[in-house]
């Protein structure tokens, strides 16, 4: 079969376009990773300089003095995560359970829709809500208010993951349990949720990791604290707020500490992720 000249030209044009467009996509993939590499590189290289024991044990020094650490901020972040998790986890898991077990009605549909809406609300708006909910009635800033803000941020993620993971459990497990004369609620808890818990744990991890990196909602709920405080109903320091303050401050020493704090924060989030992967590894070697 002879190809005419125009056919040949067409063929080459198409081939060239193909190679061109596909290389463009490769290029965009590379460009996309570039900022990631940059950020990691700078965070590690600049953050290392102040990474010593002092950073973890010492308190921040008065303005103008060098040295000191962020012990209060590290504890503060952990406490805030604890409060946020303590409120958000049960609410998220229970709501997710409700949606998957009983939620095939209009009310369930509405809840699902509203949690989707909630997941799109900017974290700063959630901070404003926590402000009106907690700070105004209490008349002062507190770790509790910050925890509430973080909980509101975690609830949609945990709810949605819980619901989806429970839905993935095969119906045959439920049937087997029912046929044995086990009450429905026991089946839901001891068989279904037990099968789904790894997925649920991943959702919890995602929620916690997101909350750990949040700054905006803490700015006017937990506020911040230059002193050591683990009181729940007082303002509390956090790594994220410190990074913000120290980065925007005119002191070079503070700027450098901001990098170190970033390094610690990113490491904290990564450790949480690895820890969860470790906990949720399979107990049995060969499970069908």
């Amino acid at each position: 079969m002879e190809k005419s000249i125009t056919q040949k030209a067409n063929y080459y044009r198409r081939k060239t376009t193909n190679v061109f467009m596909m290389s463009l996509t490769l290029l965009s993939a590379l460009v996309a990773i570039l900022p990631l590499l940059f950020i990691f590189y700078y965070t590690i290289s600049k953050g290392i300089s102040h990474l010593n024991i002092d950073f973890f044990i010492k308190m921040p020094t008065p303005v103008g003095e060098t040295g000191g650490g962020m012990a209060n901020a590290i504890i503060g972040t952990l406490i805030l995560l604890g409060i946020g998790g303590g409120i958000g986890l049960p609410i998220g898991i229970m709501t997710g359970t409700y949606l998957s077990e009983f939620g095939n009605n209009k009310f369930g549909f509405m809840i699902r829709f509203l949690t989707d809406v909630l997941s799109g609300v900017p974290s700063i708006v959630v901070g404003v809500i926590a402000y009106t909910l907690v700070v105004i009635p209490m008349k002062h800033f507190s770790a509790f208010a910050g925890g509430v803000a973080l909980a509101i941020l975690m609830i949609p993620i945990i709810t949605r993951t819980t619901e989806e993971m429970i839905k993935l459990v095969p119906h045959s497990y439920r049937e087997a349990g029912l046929a044995l004369g086990i009450p429905k609620w026991k089946i839901s808890i001891s068989i279904v949720i037990r099968s789904a818990w790894k997925g649920i744990a991943t959702g919890i991890l995602l929620g916690l990791a997101r909350a750990a990196g949040e700054t905006a909602p803490l700015l006017f709920t937990a506020l911040g604290n230059r002193f050591w405080s683990i009181k729940i109903f007082q303002p509390i320091a956090s790594l994220t707020v410190y990074i913000y303050e120290y980065a925007t401050a005119p002191f070079t020493d503070w700027n450098e500490q901001a990098w170190t704090a970033s390094l610690v924060l990113i490491s904290l989030i990564s450790i949480m992720s690895l820890l969860f992967r470790f906990i949720t590894r399979s107990k049995y070697k060969n499970v069908n």
């Binding site: 990631l36 077990e101 909630l118 997941s119 799109g120 949040e214």
Partner: protein, 335 residues
Amino acid sequence: MRYNSEVISNNKEKLNSKKTSRKNNLIKRLLGSRNLGDLIFERLTLLFAVLVFLLIVFMGYEMYTQSKLSISKFGWHFLFNTTWNPVDEVFGAAPAIFGTLVSSFLALLISLPLGLGVAIFLSELSPSWLEKPLSFLTELLAGIPSVVYGLWGIFILVPWLRTVVEPFLMKHYGYLPFFKGVPYGFGMLAAVIILSIMVLPIISSISRDVLKAVPTSQRAAAFALGATKWESTKIVLANARTGILGATMLGMGRAVGETMAVTMVIGNRPMISASLFNPSYTMASVLANEFTEATSDLYLNSLIELALILFIITIIINIAARLLVWSMERKWKKA
């Protein structure tokens, strides 16, 4: 007489026994047909779901009531007034709204093609050994906290813009209104760049899911007709366009609400200008900067009204986005 009383007492016994057996049946039926544990389980989980419902309703309601002062004072003018002056207590949201919308839109202009490119690469082109680590890396990008982006922005991006990029743009394209003004480094351009980096993972991961949802039969059909990879991809893209639009809108929603990184590099001045070099303000930045400094009730109310506007904008964008993504998934489930 005795006969009657015997009949009466017999009948009484019959009635009593009927009553007790009816009571027994009732209890049996209550406990029997519905296990008590099931009831408690259902009601307990329902309670939490109702809690979530109340929370969200409460959010909208509270923000509305807490901004009543400024709503009544400024009315619709609030949206169009270009003066945001806390000192004189004149609050107009226009600069902040402008800053938010423009920065998000421009960021999307950059991250949409890039994100789509990554998605296409991952779903159509890349060998499987590369796909997993690459997609893992893009998701890692999404996990970096906003403040860390801001920190990097202040000390790495902004100086680079100030010393290299902006002078370059001024020199070669300075006749355009976008590149006039003094190159501070801080300003709209820095915000746009950081936003595009932060939004990219969302667009790329959702687009990738959407592309993957298109059945391989479509690609197979294209190849069977002698199409090149790019041509087959164009067909897949056409199928997925609703979902990609949805991904874009979700990215827009994220960009609109992004606070810290933007606040740290945008310069935080309520002005509306065409130049990318000039500082600007977004709604989220206003809230972050000024919330703790609101001294008067009117100030606080105006800030909360700003939060309400931001809330409504993000809700609308998110609803539209979800509808688009859902409709695309449903279309392929039916087919």
